[in-house]
């Protein structure tokens, strides 16, 4: 009880300093939570595009980005013909721009593609998709920002297309995207008889190893990965996740420096008090526990405050119309646990030097300290 009070008393004695430290940790945690959650949401959405009603993704081996992957139509046709394959859908990814929007994701797909089958059709009909060579289907969000409706002409890149349908999907990239018939997309992006990837669903999941080995033997320049495997290994995702944790980590490091500063000041301003405790029998470990307890309390209060701020900020992001569908605010418990653990470790690390300093205080000298 007194031990706890000794911790609290010192934090309350310097309220402003304690609050600044807590704020440092809180904003670091909020920043980390926001960045990691937004980027993980983005990764999840992109993965969702690829795994729509499929189990496996086939793409060109050793490409750094799927936009640079090139898979021949022959490969798509051959793979679709294998008996173990239920369906194989070639998808061509492209980036286009309109007058107000520099980046719009474009999907070249077949009319059988799951994205069209599963989407809610707000306007138009899927049966028209393959018929019109200059026709495009817009995601609902894309239709809003392109101010397009069924039948209207939209300028996309260097071409003009007619809107033959508007669909609603839960995925932000798809909802803000443009869907072209595969042949049109191949022509538009100058990728004749090619797609970026083939998304594949097998009749039986147990055949996945066999399928991978068939792809390897028939198409040595291609690689087949299960969806989860792809999400884990795709270098762009790895870079995004690493960046998110690194940026968040830098924030926490700054917060940790704030805690270190607070704890150093805390020790320096009560050298005499620590000496009194030592004279009264406090051991090195008890002194260190007190210092670590203080910093841990700052870190935990900061982390909890940061989680609240971060969560509120994420929900605010979700409410911004321009970001609708692009920000997944599903906060993963694992992320929360990692963030709290990192904040706690940062706080403890920040108290390391002050604790060592406090343990080295010689009572007889410190009692002369005014």
């Amino acid at each position: 009880m007194i031990f706890v009070k000794l911790i609290l008393v010192n934090l309350l004695r310097h309220r402003i300093r304690s609050l600044i430290s807590i704020a440092g940790i809180a904003f670091s945690v909020a920043a980390m939570l926001t960045i990691v959650t937004v980027l993980q949401g983005a990764v999840g959405m992109f993965s969702g595009i690829l795994s729509s009603d499929s189990q496996i993704i086939v793409f060109e081996r050793n490409v750094s980005d799927l936009f640079f992957s090139s898979v021949s139509s022959t490969a798509a046709t051959t793979i679709a013909s294998w008996p173990i394959v239920q369906h194989a859908d070639p998808v061509l990814f492209g980036i286009v721009s309109s007058s107000d929007h520099p980046i719009i994701t474009c999907f070249g797909i077949t009319s059988a593609d799951a994205r069209l089958r599963k989407a809610t059709w707000i306007q138009g009909d899927r049966s028209n998709f393959a018929n019109a060579t200059d026709g495009v289907v817009l995601g609902q969000r894309a239709a809003e920002f392109l101010k397009a409706s069924l039948g209207s002409a939209v300028q996309i890149g260097h071409g003009t297309f007619h809107v033959i349908g508007i669909i609603k999907t839960a995925n932000g990239f798809e909802d803000g995207g443009v869907f072209m018939p595969l042949a049109s997309a191949q022509k538009f992006f100058h990728k004749d008889a090619e797609s970026s990837v083939i998304t594949v669903k097998l009749h039986n999941k147990d055949d996945i190893p066999q399928f991978k080995s068939m792809v390897k033997s028939h198409f040595p320049n291609l690689v087949a990965l299960e969806d989860d495997e792809f999400t884990r290994s795709y270098s762009q995702f790895k870079i995004l996740k690493a960046t998110a944790w690194a940026v968040g980590g830098c924030g926490l490091l700054l917060g940790g420096l704030g805690v270190a500063n607070t704890m150093i000041m805390s020790v320096f301003t009560r050298i005499r008090e620590i000496a009194i405790l030592r004279v009264n029998g406090f051991s090195n470990s008890q002194i260190a526990t007190m210092i670590f307890g203080e910093s841990a309390l700052v870190a935990v209060v900061g982390a909890v405050t940061g989680l609240l701020i971060g969560t509120a900020f994420l929900y605010l992001l979700k409410l911004i119309p321009a970001l609708h569908g692009y920000v997944d605010v599903t906060i993963q418990p694992l992320v929360v646990l990692i963030v709290i653990a990192l904040a706690f470790l940062t706080g403890v690390a920040g108290a390391l030097y002050p604790a060592i300093y406090a343990m080295r205080i010689r009572a007889v000298e410190a009692l002369r300290f005014e």
Binding site: F3, G281, F282, S283
Partner: protein
């Protein structure tokens, strides 16, 4: 009755300093020059002498607050300067009272007094019972939950005395315990101090400038220039 000038032969030695040397500033200032000192069980000893003669330094060494450059310090026959943490070793053996009360101002009287028991891991009910007893004897029973800032100088020093005795130490080292108090309060506190150490059989070694107080101890040890002079007949 005249107090004895040296330790009674029958009293077992509880504190011993043997050929103790201490200097500061890398030998530039020598404070103790081969001091030999003993204190027996239940004895009250006054260390007297001019400022800078080494009284406080000797007390600090006897209580494990500092280490001698040379020589041996033993408490209850244990050589404390061979231990890495003598303060921890002595938490049950030695209590300290300083000229400045050295209490933690944000805590209450009770909380300040419980600090040594927390350090020593004494169960809270036991510690509270001991505090209640000491507080009653020192007239602080009604002030237990007062913050230190609200206590008078005499009450603070009585609190410091209670704190020093919480773990029932066998030795009490007091460095000018009444030095910051007025004459009347000083006398009250000293009476209290002598009363408690007598009733609890505690050995008291006290550094003081106050000859009148010193003469009320069992023995007066005169220090000068870092050395102990022969005990003065009182």
């Amino acid at each position: 009755m005249t107090p004895p000038t040296s330790i009674p032969a029958a009293a077992p030695v509880v504190l011993r300093a043997q050929d103790v040397w201490k200097s500061y500033d890398q030998g530039a200032i020598t404070v103790l020059n081969g001091v030999d000192f003993v204190a027996g069980k239940g004895e009250t000893v006054a260390l007297c002498g001019p400022s800078g003669c080494g009284k406080s330094t000797l007390l600090h060494l006897l209580g494990g607050l500092d280490e001698p450059d040379r020589g041996l310090i033993s408490v209850n026959s244990v050589e404390i300067n061979r231990h890495t943490n003598p303060l921890r070793l002595l938490r049950y053996e030695v209590g300290f009272v300083f000229q400045l009360h050295n209490l933690i101002p944000d805590l209450t009287l009770q909380e300040n007094c419980l600090i040594p028991t927390v350090a020593a891991g004494v169960p809270r009910p036991t510690a509270l019972a001991r505090l209640q007893d000491l507080a009653e004897r020192t007239g602080l029973g009604h002030r237990l939950h007062q913050r230190i800032q609200k206590l008078s100088g005499g009450e603070r020093q009585r609190t410091a005395l209670c704190r020093a005795l919480m773990n029932k130490p066998r030795i009490l080292l007091a460095d000018e315990p009444t030095g910051s108090l007025d004459e009347k309060t000083s006398s009250v506190i000293f009476n209290l101090l002598l009363d408690i150490v007598a009733k609890e059989g505690v050995t008291l070694v006290m550094a003081t400038h106050d000859r009148a107080l010193a003469q009320r101890c069992d023995r007066l040890v005169e220090m000068r220039d870092g050395r102990i002079h022969e005990p003065q007949p009182l």
